[in-house]
């Protein structure tokens, strides 16, 4: 099976400072890939290249090849709005819009021109169920999304993303601001979602990576050190740096 997203020789510089020194990573559909590494190693920066969020930062130069379904992500003809619908993102801090849960989940759909009440209702239920938050919010769909707990907000954000049916879900440390119980719920959600989506997650939490990821990439100082099946990397890392990091010698 060919990878859904292939990146080759990715370099990124902020001004004259190079932050990524040539990353090659391929991502499979229906699987979870974790990006791990110490703070500042470039894992979030790399993740944000994948839906072109780094375009928002001035003076950023990105080179290399990004093939998504065989198409170049950075081609001048790429429609950014379409691209970000196909490659969605969940952030470190839950960031629901200050509207009701229903409005949050239907926001992307309404933008795409869907206004039939019945269709929207169905999609809201499907997305919230997929994000495993339906039972907790179904009686309060008209309540402001901001009035829920952090973990619930994060799952509402995931539902908001799922509503527009993306191909790839990018998560940038989605549980680092949450308590252990909420984190566990999000992890369960992700494992269920992997049947239908390609999931790429940046995480600080090594246990989390070992619990949920099929493959793990270890990055250090803007370089990709090792990329392998999670089960293999966590038991028999090929590189000394990987072994040291996994054993808590640095980072």
């Amino acid at each position: 099976m060919p990878a859904i997203l292939q990146t080759k020789n990715v370099h990124l510089s902020y001004g004259s400072k190079e932050a990524l020194h040539g990353i090659n990573l391929d991502f499979d559909d229906h699987s979870i890939t974790a990006l791990i590494g110490p703070s500042g190693c470039g894992k979030s920066t790399f993740l944000r290249c994948l839906n072109r969020m780094n375009d928002l930062i001035a003076n950023t130069t990105i080179t290399g090849s990004f093939q998504f379904h065989g198409q170049d992500l950075y081609a001048p003809t790429t429609n950014l709005v379409e691209l970000r619908k196909q490659i969605g993102m969940v952030f470190q801090q839950p960031n629901p819009f200050p509207f009701s849960v229903y409005e949050n989940v239907t926001y992307g759909l309404k933008l795409a021109g869907h206004h039939e009440r019945k269709f929207l209702d169905e999609q809201v239920e499907r997305a919230l169920k997929q994000a495993a938050v339906w039972d907790e919010v179904k009686d309060n769909l008209n309540k402001s999304a901001m009035s829920f707990s952090g973990g619930q907000q994060q799952r509402i954000c995931i539902a908001r993303l799922l509503a527009v049916q993306p191909d790839i879900i990018l998560l940038d440390e989605p549980t680092s601001a949450l308590d252990p119980i909420s984190s566990a719920q999000i992890e369960e959600t992700l494992i269920t979602l992997k049947k239908d989506y390609c999931i790429i997650i940046v995480t600080h939490n090594l246990q989390q990576a070992s619990r949920i990821a099929d493959r793990t990439a270890f990055m250090l100082n803007g370089n990709l050190v090792e990329y392998d099946l999670t089960s293999k990397m966590f038991t028999q890392p090929a590189k000394q740096d990987t072994s040291d990091y996994l054993n808590g010698k640095f980072g």
């Binding site: 928002l56 309540k143 901001m146």
Partner: protein
């Protein structure tokens, strides 16, 4: 002295300074309201001013102030909103942006009498607008713009960046994110800014003496045709506002009850501005709760 004593002394001193400020304010407000309140009556608020005899009211001046306020906001709000959105969401960090910011700073520190004379020369004389509400509203826009731009920019700036990212990552265009997410979130702050600047407009006198004029022709509140010269809606008529009225009654008033008219008008002016301020807070708080706490 021990550090503990120094700390206590410093706290006391700072409390003392705050007390002075509060006392000054209370004294001013108390004096104006206590000396003005006895002169305020339904008759005072609803009858036209008289030039020579006692017993005149402030009906037309009060209406003029409100009408001028609305007109000024209609002109200045769209300009301020656009500029604030540009400064907060689009402007890069370069010489052009700092030029705009400096221009706004300078605009906000212009003495109002200078703006008034400038408005007189340019709008009243050069553009043949005459002494009119419109001339006054344009002159007041000069003051209002910097205040409004800064408060709107401030409220947009206070929206967490994560909301912008959320919008962009969901495939919203920049403009959709601003219109659909940032502006609703900034709304309570924007409203507060509008109401506070309204208080400033309401109390302005110097800039209006030379632009909106010092005469209050008798208004016909039943004539809804804005082009008729006696219509209360005509923006081209001269219009003495409440603040200008206070100034005029004090400098050249010949009515026997000039002192009480001035005291009553001042009290009305202060009360309305206080209402604006409290209203701004109440509305801001309520909208904030509505946005974040659910319906």
């Amino acid at each position: 002295m021990t550090p503990n004593q120094t700390d206590r002394l410093a706290t006391r001193f700072i409390q003392f300074l705050v007390l002075i400020v509060v006392l000054i304010l209370l004294f001013l407000l108390g004096d104006i309201i206590i000396s003005g309140l006895p002169h305020i009556s339904w008759h005072f608020l609803t009858s036209p001013a008289s030039s020579f005899s006692a017993g005149g009211g402030i009906r037309d001046q009060l209406f003029n102030s409100l009408y001028l306020l609305v007109l000024t906001l209609i002109i200045s709000f769209p300009l301020a909103l656009g500029s604030a959105i540009y400064l907060s969401e689009y402007a890069g960090d370069n010489w052009f942006t700092s030029l705009i910011r400096t221009a706004i700073e300078v605009l906000s520190s212009l003495p109002s009498v200078v703006v008034g004379l400038f408005g007189y020369l340019l709008f009243v004389i050069e553009f043949h607008l005459g002494f009119s509400i419109l001339s006054g509203a344009i002159a007041l826009t000069f003051f209002n713009l910097p205040l409004l731009i800064r408060s709107i920019e401030g409220s947009l700036h206070a929206v967490p960046n994560s909301q912008r990212e959320a919008g962009i990552a969901l495939g919203l265009s920049n403009w959709r994110t601003i219109r659909g997410i940032l502006l609703p979130m900034a709304l309570p702050g924007i409203l507060t800014g509008i109401i506070l600047s309204a208080g400033r407009i309401f109390g302005e006198a110097a800039a209006l003496i030379y632009t909106a004029g010092q005469s209050a022709p008798i208004l016909d509140y039943t004539n809804w045709n804005p082009t008729a010269s006696s219509s209360f809606l005509n923006p081209m008529r001269p219009a003495e506002t409440l603040a200008v009225h206070i100034w005029k009654v004090n400098t050249e008033g010949v009515t026997p009850d000039a002192v009480s008219i001035s005291a009553g008008s001042s009290a009305v002016l202060i009360i309305i501005i206080l209402l604006f301020n409290f209203g701004a807070r109440a509305i801001g708080n309520r909208m904030y709760k509505k946005m974040t706490g659910g319906k």
